[in-house]
Amino acid sequence: MLTIARNELYRLFLSPLAWLILALGQVILAYLFLTHIDRFMQLQASISAIPGAPGVTELIIAPLFSNVATILLLLSPAITMRLIAEERRNDSLPLLMSAPVSVMDIVLGKYLGTLIFMIIFLIMASLMPLSLSLGGDLDYWLIASCLLGLLLLVASFCAIGLFFSSLTKQPTIAAISTFSILFLLWIIDWSAGTTTTGTSFNMLGWLSLLSHFEPLLQGNVNTSDITYYLILIVAFLSFTVRRLNSQRLN
């Protein structure tokens, strides 16, 4: 499993795609980071007098991490699309299938390899906000909560992307369907927000990726949110295993 993960990560960095995504992600985040700082500078004078006002972490870092989530929503299908679809197109899948490894190992290996790449992206994305610690005090618990949220979010992106990649031979189709599903899950609570009143449980809102991410951005770590992501990840990984297994039968 680790062999496959390592190979996956290594091959990812052999292609220009990984470098491009890391570089472009940094450029966009740098721009957004500066905008947030700018806005904070304007606000600073007016809020400094109020006791208990939101600080640097709430006003710069949390919104920035929310932007990271949006960027990953756009970029992760590009990374996950090739995972299995490309192997299938290059006829290299038999190499893995006839090796003495289980389908589970193949799926987990590929998943892990991609996840490590995403973690590298997250580490690079969090370097900029962390540089603020040079100039002031940061709320490290809030940052940790945001990063946990991002990690869970991106882990579920990868799981969904991996599943869609296992469905088709064309990486593009995998990318488009992954993106559509992710986007749908992202916005699905918009309609829920307008129709429900009060705190009653609503299905669409519960399904939304975003509604489970926002509490984490505010520093609320709920087991229900974490469980949501874990269920999503496990479900899509087992779908992928099933899909590859059934491919041998049909």
Binding site: Y10, R11, D91, S92
Partner: protein
């Protein structure tokens, strides 16, 4: 053969939707044996190979490799096979040594033996001069060798090669055949192909498949016997009457190909060449040509297949 066979497959069947691609096919491969698997395109060769390598599950039947069942103990069974599909499964962005190192790890070769295993396989497959080049930049012949290297790196008991020479130029084909012969000294090989001479050159035993069914299964020697001819071609400038020719001992029938060219069919145990020669000289028939006609493997192949088709037509 007193030993139990390395690979046995019994009554394999495989449907694609309603279509029966492979129908009740049996395989046995013993240690050190090269089994040729012969058939026209679309006969079910690749499907069978995929089933034997665990890439495709059969609808019926059982496959046992070195005592392990391919379905219930698939990992142990797969450790004993090396598989080269029709399209060699390669990561084109890796260099040859990187790729082989990945394959070695994938096949769980312990790290202490990995270097040696990679080195051996590079030498055996003649990849020494391209070790550090990217696979995507290599010629088809070299890519095929990398594919073979990948299949034998963990010294499996059985190597399954699916049309290993398709799409190569004649020189490359010769080299790959040499390589296969070399591999066959240490591993059992199942070789699928639609090229008949290849089977004759490389294999100990042949199975011919057509429309998903085995139509011939015997040693290569038996197949060659089938090819032995029982006819002569003769050209006589001053040809006698047919009746006169018929009098030579052993001749069964004569086809008149042209005015002075004949095909002579004879009893297999009574070759009339010598008698014909003597008579031609004594009677001054002006002998120009006397050759024994060989059935090509293609003829035999077509014969077997046609017989089979005729049989099944009669049944229906």
């Amino acid at each position: 053969m007193s030993e139990s066979p390395l690979l046995t497959a019994s009554s394999l069947s495989r449907y694609y939707g309603p279509q029966l691609a492979v129908n009740n096919v049996d395989f046995t491969v013993h240690k050190g044996e090269v089994l040729g698997f012969l058939g026209p395109n679309g006969a079910g060769k690749s499907t069978s190979m995929k089933m034997l390598s665990g890439n495709l599950a059969p609808n019926h039947g059982q496959i046992t490799i070195n005592g392990y069942d391919l379905l219930s103990e698939s990992q142990k069974a797969k450790a004993h096979i090396g598989y080269l599909p029709e399209q060699p499964p390669l990561y084109k962005e890796l260099s040859v040594s990187e790729f082989l190192s990945f394959c070695a790890q994938l096949n769980k070769i312990p790290s202490s033996k990995r270097r040696a295993a990679i080195q051996t396989v590079i030498e055996r497959c003649g990849l020494t001069e391209v070790t550090n080049r990217l696979i995507g930049h290599l010629s088809k012949g070299f890519q095929q060798r990398v594919g073979i290297a990948q299949a034998i790196i963990h010294t499996p008991a059985v190597v399954i090669l699916d049309e290993p020479t398709s799409g190569l130029d004649p020189i490359q084909i010769r080299e790959i055949r040499q390589l296969i012969r070399d591999i066959a000294t240490e591993h059992s090989v199942i070789l699928s192909t639609h090229i008949l001479p290849e089977v004759q050159m490389l294999c100990d035993r042949v199975q011919i498949i057509n429309h998903g069914k085995i139509v011939f299964s015997d040693t290569t020697a038996k197949l060659s016997q089938k090819m032995e001819s029982s006819s002569l071609l003769i050209t006589l400038n001053a040809a006698p009457m047919l009746e006169e020719l018929m009098q030579v001992d052993g001749i069964l029938a004569i086809d008149e190909l042209s005015k002075n060219r004949f095909r002579i069919k004879f009893q297999p145990d009574k070759n009339p060449s010598q008698a014909l020669l003597e008579k031609a000289i004594s009677q001054q028939w002006q002998l120009m040509e006397l050759t024994s006609e060989h059935h090509s493997l293609e003829d035999v192949f077509m014969n077997i297949i046609q017989q089979e088709t005729a049989l099944s037509e009669r049944e229906t």
